[in-house]
């Protein structure tokens, strides 16, 4: 039997970079094949070449034994190749059903399609409402739309790019079942991930890339995580070290019984959310996206003003009425979930992006920008946080996701915030950079700052947080000590079946006792 997909000597270079260097691999029908690699290893380029979104400079692609000439995405889809992009190819102003219909052949029958979407999403445990506009969906929900869109076309080869980062542990479980079922039905799956445990649990084979080359082929079921990581990173993984800490006496940031109606019809309203964060600790906010995280982040960062100034206290001082800039002046840093467009201006240089928030570091005098200072600051951040970029003049959108995130984190941390709120610190970031970012957050907290991390990756929260809260339907659970809880308990709280949401705010003493 011919392999479902065979790559022979695929090479592709961009100005200054050899993205793919003679890559060959084979995927059999029904095989789940992992592509492992750091950011910049060439995974995304390779996937785009397979899917036809870009063309290789050299090499051959064979699908079911037949050579595929230069092709576009439309040809790929006819061949049965479907791809879930890391940056989703969805249209925000359209509904889910409309989005799906755009990639389906034939005429548009939205009603029938909506019914099919419901069927498939139920069958595979990916609940979505076909009539909602994508605009109102969380990142996690958008990914479900992408997956369902592919499944509806009965693919022969499904390419998934970091698909589990937004799912609850239970949902990951379910997704794996889905993927195994699909594989048993004969569909091949290319699974791009940096989560070694998942690759080992799910995949039949793995191709490891580093610097555009194949550095190893392994059977992940028989390899250890350490072996895979070594092939991927080139050396042993840096380990994140969670040290003992001294908590500040009073909370640095507290949110007091905050209720806030959602701004859009479809968002989540916050229901009496309370939390306290002390200096010296990292507090994690877990939950499936779309359960109030972005609303709380907006309320804390100052993107939304709360009803009463006292709803949010920064070192005892009411700040609910202040705008985001004033709050930053007082030492409240914020790293949003979207790097491009919210954390950084994509077409601007890194030094200009430094100005966005770090202008407080004496970069502006009498309304005039001191470019020299901004460049020096940007260069500092690049060096100190080992950002791979061509200096302070590099454009933000030219950096890989992980590198830009390191840059943004560095920018915020260099301003020595009293409280730092970070949303999805390592979303789509590779193992090496993730470990680095996590360690930076721990070090920041250990230096006396209060750190709040919103993340959908439970592993990450368990790795770095001292305490956890769980979001569900706009309400926050009671505080959970990391050492006294487990993934299953958090997973149940996420889905709203794990007991009541918080009823009383734990006092500072209780918190200190728990940590």
């Amino acid at each position: 039997m011919n392999p479902r997909l065979e790559l022979r000597g695929i090479s592709k270079s961009y100005p200054g970079v050899l993205a793919n260097d003679e890559i060959s691999l084979t995927v059999q029908p029904g095989e789940i094949h992992a592509i492992l690699g750091e950011n910049g290893a060439g995974k995304s380029t390779l996937m785009k070449i397979i899917y036809g979104a870009t063309h290789a400079d050299a090499g051959e692609i064979l699908c079911d034994g037949v050579a595929v000439p230069e092709h576009g995405p439309a040809v790929s889809r006819e061949l049965g190749i479907e791809m879930v992009y890391q940056h989703f190819a969805l249209f925000e102003s359209l509904t889910v059903a409309e989005n799906v219909s755009l990639s389906m052949p034939g005429n548009m029958d939205l009603k029938a399609l909506a019914a099919r979407i419901r069927d498939v999403s139920e069958k595979y445990g990916l609940p979505i409402d076909p009539d909602r506009r994508v605009l109102s969906l969380s990142v996690g929900e958008r990914q479900r739309v992408e997956i369902v869109r592919c499944l509806l076309r009965n693919p022969k080869l499904l390419i998934l790019d970091e698909p589990t980062s937004v799912l609850t542990p239970q949902a990951v479980h379910k997704l794996f079942e889905t993927l195994r079922t699909l594989a048993q039905e004969g569909c091949s799956i290319l699974y791009i991930s940096h989560k070694l445990d998942e690759v080992r649990a799910l995949c039949h084979s793995a191709t490891v890339l580093r610097g555009g080359r194949v550095t190893g082929v392994a059977d992940p079921r028989k390899s250890t995580s350490a072996e895979l990581a070594r092939m991927m990173v080139g050396n042993d993984l840096p380990e994140v070290i969670l040290t003992k800490t001294e908590l500040s006496h009073a909370p640095m940031l507290s949110v007091n019984n905050l209720s806030m109606a959602s701004e859009s019809v479809v968002g989540t309203s916050l229901k009496s959310v309370s939390l306290e964060v002390h200096g010296g600790e990292i507090v994690g906010l877990a939950g499936v996206s779309g359960n109030g995280q972005s609303e709380l982040a907006a309320a804390i960062s100052g993107e939304r003003i709360t009803n009463a100034a006292e709803d949010i206290l920064l070192e005892g001082r009411p700040i609910g009425h202040l705008d985001a800039g004033r709050r930053r002046d007082l030492g409240l840093g914020f790293v949003p979930e979207e790097r491009l467009g919210r954390g950084a201006v994509p077409p601007h240089e890194l030094s200009e992006n430094a100005l966005l928030t770090a202008h407080r570091q004496g970069m502006v005098k009498r309304g005039m920008v001191n470019r020299k200072r901004a460049r020096a600051f940007a260069r500092d951040v690049i060096d100190k946080y080992s950002v791979k970029a061509n200096g302070p003049d590099a454009k933000a959108h030219g950096l890989s996701g992980g590198n830009l995130q390191k840059y943004i984190m560095g920018r915020e941390i260099e301003m020595a915030p009293r409280v730092l709120l970070v949303s999805q610190p390592t979303w789509g970031v590779d193992v090496g950079a993730s470990a680095y970012i996590r360690q930076t957050l721990i070090d920041l907290s250990r230096s006396g700052a209060a750190v709040i991390v919103i993340s959908e990756e439970l592993e990450e929260l368990f790795e770095i947080c001292d305490r956890l809260y769980v979001f569900c339907h706009g309400a926050l659970s009671h505080s959970l000590d990391r050492n006294a809880t487990n993934v299953e308990e958090i997973g149940l709280l996420m889905s709203g079946t794990g007991g009541a949401a918080q009823t009383a705010v734990p006092s500072a003493d209780e918190v200190r006792h728990v940590v």
């Binding site: 785009k48 870009t54 249209f91 925000e92 990639s103």
Partner: protein
Amino acid sequence: MDLFVSMFAATIIAATPLIFAALGELVVEKSGVLNLGIEGMMLIGAAFGIWVHFAGFPMILAVGAAVVGGALASLMFGVLALTFMTNQYAAGLALAIFGAGVSAFIGRGFGTTPVEAIQPLHIPGLSDIPILGEMFFQFDPLVYLSFVLFAAVSWFLYRTKAGLALRAIGESPDSAHAIGYQVIRIRYLAVMFGGAMAGLGGAYLSLVYTPLWVENMTAGRGWIALALVVFAAWRPRRVIFGAWLFGGMTILQLQGQAIGLTVPTEVLSALPYVATIVVLVLISRNREAMALDFPTSLAQPFRPKG
């Protein structure tokens, strides 16, 4: 009552060229392309229409020539903006100026010879109903065509897959390209539709409304059509509303001048433009609703990646 009836009918007629041009531009902008050259395309349409009419061809061919003229003019814009990816603002402005020049050149020999305008349709029965007949059933065929085209454009944009694809491209050409749509080709079609509609609007001015050749006879209607699309928040129904508003104000100020209001005529003449924009600004204040219909990629050249 008679005055109201005749003003109502006059409003509909005054709004017709705007409806053509603005509906066309709406489709263009929905695909993510901004063509500022409506004024130029309307003028070319107006001149082509008269040209062919004076050459002795039947009216329907004259109107057809205006449509073709507008589409050809827009094709020049398309080549610049879509193939060569020049700045769309600059290319559109160039087209506006070019259209004024070319139409004046074509119109040199037309003098002030009046055109035998396209006559209102007489619909047996309906046209003879008192009042209602005069209000709704005594128009020329192009007025009815504008209603048909409004329905067709709305249906196309919101009920067909091609319309859905067009809107999708206007929001994110990269995503549309990624799932296999031919962005440039679809944008070309949209741009040429916009040109054809602007040409039709021009023909309405020169063959029905005025009806004779005057240099720069569009008198800024191309720009008003452009403003209508923006302030109508890219919704066909609001475009029609805006066009009627403009038409109504035009007729009102003419009446005002006729009965000898003491306000300077310049102020009265400015009234339709001011009133239309003020009202549309007021109704488009809801930003969330605006965002839903705004073609996010508007005026950004698309380069396929890879």
